[in-house]
């Protein structure tokens, strides 16, 4: 279906535009909904993109061969994680109380770092998705319309040992036209039954050859 091409186009666009960001802001794009993600692997910020729901408004034309309107909803699951960070090398090199105190003051707890990182990630993702050049995600004109990011929700930070994990999700919707192409099944075995006349019954053209009345 057309939404699959749109899904792949969104993933490709996010991946390509992420590579153009400053290295510290780049993110991984995962093309499916992961069952679980370890806190360590989440240290590289990532976004999972997957088809979440679809709405098919009924219309008269759809019954006579016109394309079917499809309003797919794609879910974007964002994950960031971090340890507490600060001027660690300065802290290790400190030789006076004043230097150690100054280095300690540079440290931020992990939940503060992930909150800012998520805000930056969301800002980058939203700007990519809503960029005018990405209106059709490089698909042909007419393949997709009305793309819109309709919501964003940040979850609570969850500590996993010394790593704090923060997730958020956003909804991207659009309109596509689907063509009903049917399903090509598995080819069966060719057979040919020709029964021209069974006991004078000229109406019987199909069925098992034999004499009428047989069981």
């Amino acid at each position: 279906m057309q939404f699959q091409q749109v899904r792949d186009a969104i993933i490709a666009t996010l991946g390509a535009d992420s590579a153009a960001l400053p290295a510290v802001n780049q993110f991984r794009v995962i093309s499916y909904q992961r069952q679980a993600e370890s806190a360590v692997s989440a240290l590289n910020q990532s976004i999972q993109v997957f088809y979440n729901a679809g709405d098919f408004p009924k219309s008269g034309g759809s019954f006579v061969g016109d394309s079917v309107k499809h309003k797919p909803t794609f879910r974007l699951e964002m994950t960031v994680a971090s340890k507490a960070k600060g001027n660690l090398s300065g802290l290790e090199a400190a030789t006076t109380p004043a230097e150690a105190s100054a280095a300690l003051a540079t440290f931020f707890e992990a939940s503060s770092i992930v909150d800012k990182a998520m805000d930056q990630l969301w800002s980058d993702v939203w700007n990519i998705l809503m960029d005018a050049k990405n209106e059709t995600f490089d698909l042909p004109i007419g393949a997709i319309s009305s793309r819109w990011v309709s919501g964003f929700q940040k979850d609570n930070p969850t500590p996993k040992g010394e790593i704090v994990l923060l997730t958020a999700n956003a909804i991207l919707s659009c309109d596509v036209d689907e063509e009903v192409i049917g399903v090509t099944g598995t080819l069966g075995v060719d057979f040919d039954v020709t029964v021209s006349d069974i006991n004078g019954d000229t109406e019987q053209k199909t069925g098992t050859a034999g004499t009428l009345g047989e069981t």
């Binding site: 960070k85 150690a100 040992g161």
Partner: protein, 130 residues
């Protein structure tokens, strides 16, 4: 002797005795403590457990996390860590008193205990470079 005082005195054995591992503390003002306030001739030591149980907020299940918990005798400290402060701690990454000490940061998670018997439980973290 009052039993609470006796229990506090017993911390010298239970936390700082032969189970104890050396700990260095640096308070937010940069002052370093390497010796016990109770016994300035000896290193500051405490009980270090290298993992602890916690509740995974995603699932509600109890899980084991590989982050250390350091329990110290309060009377051995020059200054007691309180919630909101950032401290540096150094102690071995493995339960060997002679092993190289690694730098940890005490930040975010508040210290626990100390009100009843006289010990304080700290949750240091291995930090990253900004």
């Amino acid at each position: 002797m009052n039993l609470r005082k006796r229990a506090e005195a017993d911390l010298k054995t239970s936390l700082e005795g032969k189970w104890g591992l050396p700990v260095i503390l640096v308070d937010p003002d940069g002052n370093e403590q390497t010796k016990s306030a109770n016994d300035p001739l000896n290193d500051l030591t405490g009980q270090i457990l290298y993992d602890h149980r916690t509740i995974d907020t995603d699932t509600g299940m109890e899980i084991l996390v590989n982050t250390p918990v350091v329990t110290l005798r309060k009377s051995s400290l020059d200054r007691i860590p309180v919630d909101g402060e950032t401290w540096k701690m150094k102690f071995p990454l493995v339960p060997d008193p002679e092993a190289v000490k690694e730098t940890f940061i005490l930040i975010g998670r508040p210290p626990e205990g100390g009100g009843s018997i006289g010990f304080i439980r700290l949750y240091p973290q291995l930090p990253g470079q900004e």
